[in-house]
């Protein structure tokens, strides 16, 4: 297979779990989860979805730009969840590079606005 045909292999992690969170398969491309047995214990993001899977009858969930800090490694991932019979498939796309760029742009814009505001209120003493 040429590299052009597998552009997602480096950025994609699949995690298969039972509805109770037990990890039953997948790979460790972005995060090495070998030391975890339950996905709901890896990050509160996963834990918070537990109830949604139990109460919603949707089979497909998408969460863009989730900030993860797992095993001391920070990543921005888009997360897709597919509910199948008896298991859930999580797919994490590591889009950190793209999101870092966006983050820098947003940060500069917002910081400038906030700094300008703080300067102004410093002079007029708020409202």
């Amino acid at each position: 297979m040429s590299t052009i045909e597998k552009p997602f292999l480096d950025v994609l992690q699949e995690i298969i779990i039972k509805p109770d969170g037990t990890i039953i398969g997948g790979n460790n491309t972005i995060y090495n989860l070998e030391s975890f047995s339950n996905l709901f214990e890896v990050d509160p993001f996963f834990e918070s979805l537990k109830e949604q899977f139990l109460t919603s009858n949707k089979t497909f969930f998408v969460y863009p730009c989730v900030n993860f800090y797992i095993n001391n490694k920070k990543c921005y991932c888009d997360v897709t969840v597919k509910r199948e019979n008896g298991f859930l498939a999580f797919i994490l796309f590591n889009y950190s590079e793209r999101y870092e760029k966006l983050h820098n742009i947003e940060s500069q814009k917002n910081q400038q606005q906030l700094n300008a505001h703080l300067k102004k209120i410093g002079a007029t003493n708020v409202l």
Binding site: P44, E47, E51, V62, N67, H103, V126, L127
Partner: protein, 163 residues
């Protein structure tokens, strides 16, 4: 009461109002003057005890939006409570408060919301303090993530409303 229940809270509000700072103060007892813009969502958790019952709060600290209608839908789904944060020194962050509350009432009926005026440490003049005594701000709570004032209380308050 189920003693191991967990509740999802989403923090809403314009950019830079102090959403992340409130969460940091509440979860990690820390504050930083540095402004690190949130892109997307960062989820944190903290276990609180209310009337002898343990509640796990799972807090979705999302990126700032000038209007809730612009927030990503999947972030808001399945939430049990909202904290709507504004910056008491920036009118543009609370001028649309009524519209924002209408949006929540229409789209998330029966989900509790607490309105929070943050950066109360910057409310320095009597005029500014009187401004927030007006009728439309009567049911707001005022916090300072910087000094820690009232932060614990607002999380306790929303938790009680969610139970």
């Amino acid at each position: 009461m189920n003693s191991s229940q967990s509740k999802k809270i989403v923090i809403l509000g314009h950019f830079g109002v102090g959403k992340t700072s409130l969460v940091r103060r509440f979860v990690d007892s820390m504050f930083s003057e540095d402004y690190l813009v949130t892109l997307g969502v960062q989820v944190k958790k903290k276990v609180v005890t209310i009337d002898d019952a343990k509640v796990t709060l799972i807090i979705w600290d999302i990126e700032g939006n000038s209007s809730i209608s612009k927030a990503r839908k999947s972030y808001l789904t399945g939430t049990h409570g909202f904290l709507y944060v504004f910056d008491v020194t920036r009118p543009e962050t609370f001028e649309n408060l009524e519209d924002e509350m209408d949006f929540l009432a229409n789209n998330f009926p029966s989900i509790p919301v607490c309105k929070i005026g943050n950066k109360s440490d910057l409310l320095l003049t009597e005029n500014a303090k009187e401004f927030f005594e007006q009728e439309q701000y009567k049911d707001c709570d005022f916090t300072s993530a910087k000094e820690g004032n009232n932060v614990e209380n607002v999380f306790q308050k929303i938790t009680k409303q969610m139970l």
